[in-house]
Amino acid sequence: MRMIGWLGLAALAFILGGAAQAETIKIGVVLPFSGANADLGHQIDKAFDLYVKLHADDIAPHKVELIKRDEGPPTGAQAKTVATELITNDKVRLLAGFVFSPSAIALAPVVTQAKIPMVIANAGTAWITNLSPYIVRLSFSMWHPAFPMGAFTYDKIGCKTAAMAFTDFPPGKDSTEAFKTGFEKAGGKIVDAIPMGSPVQVPDFTPFFQKIKDEKPDCMYVFIPSGAHAAGVMKAYGELGMRKAGIKLIGPMDLIPDNKLQDMGDAAIGTIVMGHYAVDLDSAQNKALNEEWHKAYGKDSYPDFMSAAGWDTMHAIFDAIKKLNGNMSDGAKVVDAMKGWSADGPRGRVMIDPATRDIVQDEHAMEVYRKPDGKLGERILGTTKAVKDECKELKVGRCGS
């Protein structure tokens, strides 16, 4: 009798203990907090912080602890050192963030060896997810917006010819290649592809755009890195009167970052981009995000596609925590928990493709227009649903390995 009593008590204690065993899950956040691209890091960081604050109760009794480190410049070396130490010293269970592709690329062998999941909130080189089975991407690949844009440009916008101008580094090459593949498949003709210098400094865009203006294509596809370049592009486009000359400006969302759109003025009106997020996107989640964002960060601060990706990253991580009941010690199980994850986020319906661990999301073609209240906004012209990364689907170049 007593034995059963003791066993009973022990079992009870065990159950209670197990249930009450609250985990603090350490997450290593690697983002550029300083340097030329700090604004990108901060946009994602703010989204991380906001989600964690608002949804802390979702994973109770477990808690999440964010340990933040500067990703450094886009050389990969600092990110690698910093993230390796997060794993070995701070004993994080997951890594999240990564604005620059070189950082994620450098880290791939490390996370494979350490069996720690790496959840990417930005880095867009298509074949990154192939580098390690522990990489999950919540943001996008260059092909997500660019490939469908090619077909949309020919079919819906009606441009028969297009010129491409891009910053001369791998994302620029990837994006224009993706656009070209989609555009030519639909029947269009690319008249020129102009590299516009290195991503480090914002160049004077005028000579490049002037050349395109002389070539008179129907559309001009411009790819620039997120951040400071967008304003320069819009200024040059406006100053040269290219819209008047009949050349439409198209590109990915980096062309009209939400936090700079208002400054761009009339020159931006009529720009058509394909992207997975806009501040004006009409969904309950997005409205909620904007409301909470303004409450937390002021009315002059806006979330953008990177913030949306950051938000969904935390969402996916939190859902994995819930699914595994706080037990994040097996990296492979965590990745498995995230495969096939889907939810309604600020971008709309998003899913993690179990085959590639990359994001599947809707791409919207959006046009900039002036809203009745005087502010600039984006209206949706069309949506391509559930877009996968075509680079891996078509096995183009490095994506095929």
Partner: protein
């Protein structure tokens, strides 16, 4: 007008506007390095400070763009005197390397301060209506802002030239650049002269920074991102020479624009190839002294 002529004029016009920006921002560095041999790598930070002041004046205080440029130049010029007296003065006799270390340290501090005060997101300025839009010259439209840059640059060149060549102070500066000891021995107070030129140079850098916002954008990294560019202009032009800085700015500005237009694939090369070519033939720059 035949096509190639239009292209040529476009390149010249765009290149000229870019060159004016280079000249205005770099001339101060050239004169101070030529006059006192002081390597001031914080020059870019002064330009950045000017830019951010213009942002605050126009956005927060509602001052017009052009008056903001003037105010920013004056304020930064005045503040630079403080830096000169308190810090730089101690290192006139020091080695180049120490000056490098000091000014790089100051530049880093400036970047962090700008990030703290303004955040890392790049800023823009509201331009008055007459600076937006374009100017119609018959065969081509030219952006008004760039036309403004060219006119402003030309005016400044005229003023500086007059000051340098026709005034007493200008003569004293030229004398001190040529031979400092001689100048001191004939009673020229070189120290005070240097404070003056440093203030003017920094003020001009601030002006350049304010003008750059529309051209290149402004973010806290501005201080070091374009420093190499200014150093190149100064080296190619020759230390301490107004003419030299102008010629270098023109050559580099036009070649860079032409390169980007005609051979975008190799666009980055041009400005460095020109630099190497000039320096191999004339190591002291166009108008530097051997």
């Amino acid at each position: 007008m035949p096509h190639f002529a239009i292209v040529a004029v476009s390149i010249l016009f765009d290149g000229l506007a870019y060159a004016m920006f280079l000249f205005i921002t770099s001339v101060g560095l050239s004169i101070t390095m030529g006059l006192m041999g002081f390597v001031n790598l914080a020059h870019g930070a002064f330009a950045m400070a000017g830019g951010y002041l213009v942002v605050t004046l126009t956005r927060t205080l509602g001052v017009g763009f052009v008056p903001s440029l003037v105010i920013a130049a004056l304020v930064v010029g005045a503040v630079s005197v403080v830096f000169e007296r308190v810090l730089y003065r101690r290192l006139y006799k020091s080695t180049d390397l120490e000056q490098v270390l000091l000014t790089i340290g100051l530049a880093f501090m400036a970047i962090a301060t700008a990030t703290f005060l303004y955040g890392p997101i790049p800023k823009s300025v509201p331009l008055p209506d007459w600076l937006q839009g374009d100017v119609n010259l018959g065969f081509r439209y030219f952006p008004s802002y760039r036309a403004f840059l060219i006119v402003l640059g030309a005016a400044l060149i005229a003023v500086l030239w007059y000051a340098f060549e026709r005034t007493n102070i200008g003569a004293k500066i030229r004398a001190a650049v040529d031979n400092r000891r001689m100048a001191e021995s004939v009673g020229i107070n070189v120290d005070r002269l240097f404070t003056l030129t440093f203030a003017v140079g920094s003020g001009l850098a601030a002006l350049g920074g304010g003008l750059a916002i529309q051209l290149l954008g402004l973010s806290p990294s501005f201080a070091v991102l374009y420093l190499v560019l200014f150093l190149i202009v100064v080296a190619v032009g020759g230390l301490g020479s107004l003419k030299g800085t102008l010629l270098a700015a023109l050559v580099l500005g036009v070649f860079d624009t032409a390169g980007k237009y005609l051979l975008a694939d190799a666009g980055g090369f041009f400005i460095y190839a020109v630099t190497v070519a000039v320096l191999l033939i004339k190591p002291a720059g166009f108008y530097g002294r051997e």
